[in-house]
Symmetry: C2
Subunit: 656 residues, 2 copies
């Protein structure tokens, strides 16, 4: 009985901890894929913080920014380094930084945080440079990476603090950046560095201790009937001004500015006249403090109105371990900014302020709007022409009254356990001619969750381990054309394909995986990538929404493995299920077994304790998986236990 | 290797779940005491919901109210039933209740919720009576329990809904109750049923969807220099009115009324003129929604000003599993009610209201104050004499501006895992002449946490399992004089002693337990209850704050157990530590062992995999426990592994 007692001691103690919370409400990945041996990994000894990436498919490289190094890696295999350039802090800079109270070996280094394309061969790059942000030009030509050494001022373009969240974007030759503009990190700014530099007003109603996470460009001027302008959207969290609570509360925001903004003439001189923000709602099923946006991905559509922002949220309080993904339609965000009501501060009893819906008259042109045909007809062609009352209004009221609601009313995905950190989304054309949006979500313990929403049901196809040690994924990039995903962390960069259909060896496995990238090909008898199928392939099936395996051939019966029964010994029969969503069922002579004093059923198999003669016979291990309310059973292993009559032996033999 | 693989499969899967959260910040009980065989338990077949208790130490019984039954149990051993009386709903009542949409077999029954002492032999008892609350008189005489059958109206005295939280208190012959007064549970009330019945105003600023959890009496008139009145304090949670958030937020409150209150003459006629409430603060170290008060215990002091309320809080959101205990001094609560500022509602933009600190002039006499000498000197001897402006003020402003802060600034105890449900506190006189307040806290999985605070350090002496199945403890009572604790749940009532010193067998065990009830007696060589020591006992030690074992005799060296080593076998050496706070250390020939391919160290012992000749020798298992920054090592087991040269055997032998 020693094995049982050992198991029960270990389990007993863990169960005590494990099952105090209820995990059943949360999405569980169907398959857990452990670290692969043939992984494409890049890291260099002594270099850390691989957290900035720039995809240059045109040059065949992925540019990777780390601490004091920039690499050009083969985009098809990032473990192949094509070039590298190092940008170290000078001793003087490091000393200065140290004198100001920062840690020499950690903070007073140069962390590459900005990498943008300027033209065919040139990139713009910024680093924290020992709390003295600096930018430079980087060329990749003739297989060489070269820094031009221009040492431009990086204040406002790149954070001082290497660990502060930050976002930036290059539009043409204009750099949009959202960060802190001072050493202490106390002066947040959304800045456009261009011939006509623009920035946010330094007012807590504009930005209050923000954490910027994402920025993207939407070409709304394209085909616009009302002559609208292009816009830059940004996502961040900040202290709520609209709530009144017993402690500070953070909220998530989306904000936008117009590309053509030139600031005001008298009011809002060299400041955005088009900075508008709204709360992002992603309510959990449970009451909680507002969840905090951590990363966003814009899934672009040809018609920009149909583009969708996917956002990852984590709890504001570390008491909770529940993350979520919410999706927002471009048009819902646009409607709130273009047509929504504003919030306005109201003084209460001299010392308090309450933000309520503004119900008074809104000036014309509408505050915060871009210059469009209607405004031009009024004789105003630039934001410089806007009247003071429009500008004063928006200066004091940048917050919209209404929050942006998720596309689906609530979270697309709610997950307990390791927090989600980053997201990218791929739009996949499946055999049925439909597109499915597959989300790849990085976690704080180095996994990727690959998830898809089938008719309101969230399904995590796989969770894939990317790092040997549990380290947070700090950047995630997708090359949809290459079918590759690139992730970065403190200790290295990793590449993985968006799918690995060969993981599924049988037709049933392939169909139950419900992976839109994969289909079962009857001609080759393989689970193959939909992309790789020749157009002539007709004997190919997928069943994404239903997971219906009825078209698969009946699997061959599992051959029984003979197994010796030595009376008095403990016998271990192993059985590994193919899915985390399946339940195991053990049968002995058609009777279903349950854990008790005689049997111990665990995830890896069945233990028969102190076996006796009467235990001889046929044991069957079935996997029972529910898909869409239907149950699918299949036999995974069969053992034939036969009384052993040979000489005495030590430990009982164990198969598998 | 089969054992290791089984262990690692089980552990691996669990660790994945278990160690995603960080449990180290939370208090861990030093000892886990599993269910005892000789437990004193009371339950009757077919009877459920043992949730009301009345201690009658004068009659030698504990009165226990359940669903449709009341028992008189021997207070020294509740498994001995002295009498019982059944109070079932009539078929007609049950039918009526069912017609109104309630579940016949669950809700339409009579749950005893109220049990109070009226005089030497008579109790007042109320039950939900199929959503038609009814009260009666109960006598215990000549070993018989008898209901008088008076069937008094129970509306407002007892809830309609058997599962709604509720609190009541008998003061003389006046019943104070806090519950809902209507079938729907939508009209909350704090009621005094007496010759002059008084109740709360039905206004959401007074009570907004409250959950009443506790009520107690404080005799503040005793020795009062300013002729103050006695008071009834009550604890509950309700919807916050002072916050403005994106969803409803509940807050915890303490409120009080004056015993002598008679209502107002015109304003607040037959309503409390002294109902004041304040927010209870028990801030977790993490940002979160306000935690919710679940139970309170008043640790009374001779000088009522030094009495302390102990309160259990659980999270508002089920996303979190972190409970806390906060303590509040009577005088802090009194100061806020007697001298604090009020909150006042301010209209904002017609449709909003914001509650802010009232800064205007406060009428005299002070609104909400009891009638005291100063007021009497003004010619007002009863609340009926109070002027309208005082009464109108308090009718509209029952909430104090300031929250009551915990005695120690923050929680006394923060615990992750199964939620805390109920609390009682015992003041224990230790050998050093000091009193220590020992908390007994029930949990939702049927355990009692026995905890004490030593110089700002929270220490959970033991967690004791009271129920075989994990069921929530719904009531907890203490008889300090008997040294007994009584707990109730859905399925039964259980009694346990406040301490069981004999659990600790050696001097070192006894001292390290740091239990103020227990001391090591050198004369008897036993860990004994401090109460049971004869006053002449001098050779007795305790070391509560330090856990210093230096006065204990050096323990005898642990005898080595001989153990046969059969090459190729797995060998399991067991070693059970005495404390959850201790780490295990295994040594082999003075080298410390670690888990690797050869050794597997788990909480129950050491596994040597596929042993070989060179593994022969001496193995020592040490317990390493940190107390107050000091480390205490002791050897728990020693094994002498010797090469076995006898005939071949099956499973390896296993000690312990």
């Amino acid at each position: 009985m020693s094995l049982l007692s050992a198991l029960s001691i270990v389990c007993g103690l863990m169960l005590h901890v494990c099952f105090s919370a209820d995990y059943t409400r949360y999405t569980v990945p169907r398959k857990t894929v452990p670290l692969q041996n043939e992984q494409k990994l890049f890291r260099e000894e002594g270099i850390f913080n691989y957290s900035t990436m720039l995809m240059r498919e045109d040059l065949g490289v992925m540019l990777l920014g780390a601490r004091e190094a920039i690499y050009a890696l083969d985009i098809n295999n990032i473990s192949l380094r094509k070039a590298a350039v190092y940008w170290r802090v000078t001793e003087e800079k490091q000393r200065e930084c140290m004198y100001k109270g920062k840690q020499a070996e950690v903070e007073c280094r140069n962390y590459i945080r900005t990498l943008h394309t300027l033209n065919d061969t040139t990139m713009y790059v910024c680093g924290t440079n020992a709390f003295s942000p600096t930018c430079d030009y980087l060329t990749f030509a003739n297989g060489q990476l070269r820094l031009e050494g221009k040492q431009e001022e990086g204040k406002g373009k790149c954070p001082f603090d290497p660990f502060q969240r930050y976002s930036s974007l290059m539009v043409g030759s204009d750099l949009y950046s959202a960060t802190s503009i001072n050493f202490l990190g106390s002066e947040p700014v959304v800045l456009r560095s261009s011939n006509l530099a623009l920035r946010t007003e330094f007012k807590s109603s504009w930005l209050s201790e923000p954490n910027f996470v994402y920025m993207d460009f939407v070409g709304e001027s394209f085909d616009s009937p009302d002559g609208d302008d292009d816009k830059v959207y940004m996502f961040f969290s900040e202290n709520a001004m609209e709530y009144d609570f017993y402690s500070k509360v953070a909220v998530s925001r989306v904000a936008r500015v117009c590309k053509g903004d030139m600031g005001g003439q008298r009011t809002l001189q060299r400041k955005w006249t088009s900075f508008l923000k709204a709360r992002l709602d992603c309510s959990f099923p449970e009451p909680s403090l507002p969840p905090i946006v951590q990363d966003v991905f814009l899934l672009k559509h040809k018609d920009w109105r149909k583009s969708v922002f996917y956002a990852v949220f984590t709890p504001q309080s570390s008491l909770s371990q529940v993350s979520a993904v919410c999706a927002y339609s471009m048009s819902a965000i646009r409607d709130i900014f273009n047509e929504g009501k504003f919030k306005t501060p109201v003084a209460v009893e001299t010392s308090h302020v309450k933000w309520v819906m503004y119900t008074g008259e809104v000036p014309v042109p509408r505050p915060g709007a871009c210059i469009n045909n209607t405004v031009r007809k009024m004789g105003m062609n630039r934001s410089l022409d806007l009247p003071d009352k429009t500008l004063q209004f928006i200066r004091d009221r940048p917050l919209m009254d209404e929050a942006v609601r998720p596309l689906t009313g609530g979270p697309l995905l709610v997950k307990n356990g390791a927090l989600l950190t980053r997201i990218v989304v791929d739009s996949v054309l499946a055999l049925d001619g439909q597109r499915y949006n597959v989300m790849f979500i990085g976690t704080e313990n180095g996994y990727i969750q690959k998830a898809v929403n089938y008719a309101e049901e969230m399904f995590i196809i796989e969770e894939i381990q990317l790092y040997e040690n549990p380290e947070p994924i700090s950047i995630l990039r997708l090359s949809s054309s290459k079918g590759q995903l690139y992730a970065g962390s403190e200790f290295g960069a990793v590449q993985m394909p968006v799918s690995n259909c060969s993981r599924y060896e049988t037709c049933v496995d392939c169909i139950l995986a419900r992976d839109p990238y994969c289909a079962w090909d009857f001609s080759t008898e393989q689970c193959s990538s939909v992309n790789s199928l020749s157009s002539s392939s007709k004997a190919v099936i997928q069943s994404l929404k239903e997971g219906d395996v009825s078209q698969c051939p009946q699997p061959d019966p599992v051959a029984a493995v003979d197994f010796a029964l030595i009376p008095g010994n403990n016998i271990q029969l192993s059985c590994q299920l193919h899915s985390n969503l399946a339940q195991v069922r053990w049968r002995f002579s058609e009777q279903t077994l349950h854990s008790n004093h005689k049997y111990y059923i665990y995830s890896g198999g069945l233990l028969i304790l102190s076996a006796s003669k009467s235990d001889a016979g046929l044991y069957t291990c079935d996997s029972v998986e529910r898909i869409n309310g239907r149950t699918y059973n299949r036999t995974v292993a069969v053992y034939h236990l036969q009384l052993y009559s040979g000489p005495a032996v030590g430990d009982g033999p164990t198969p598998g």
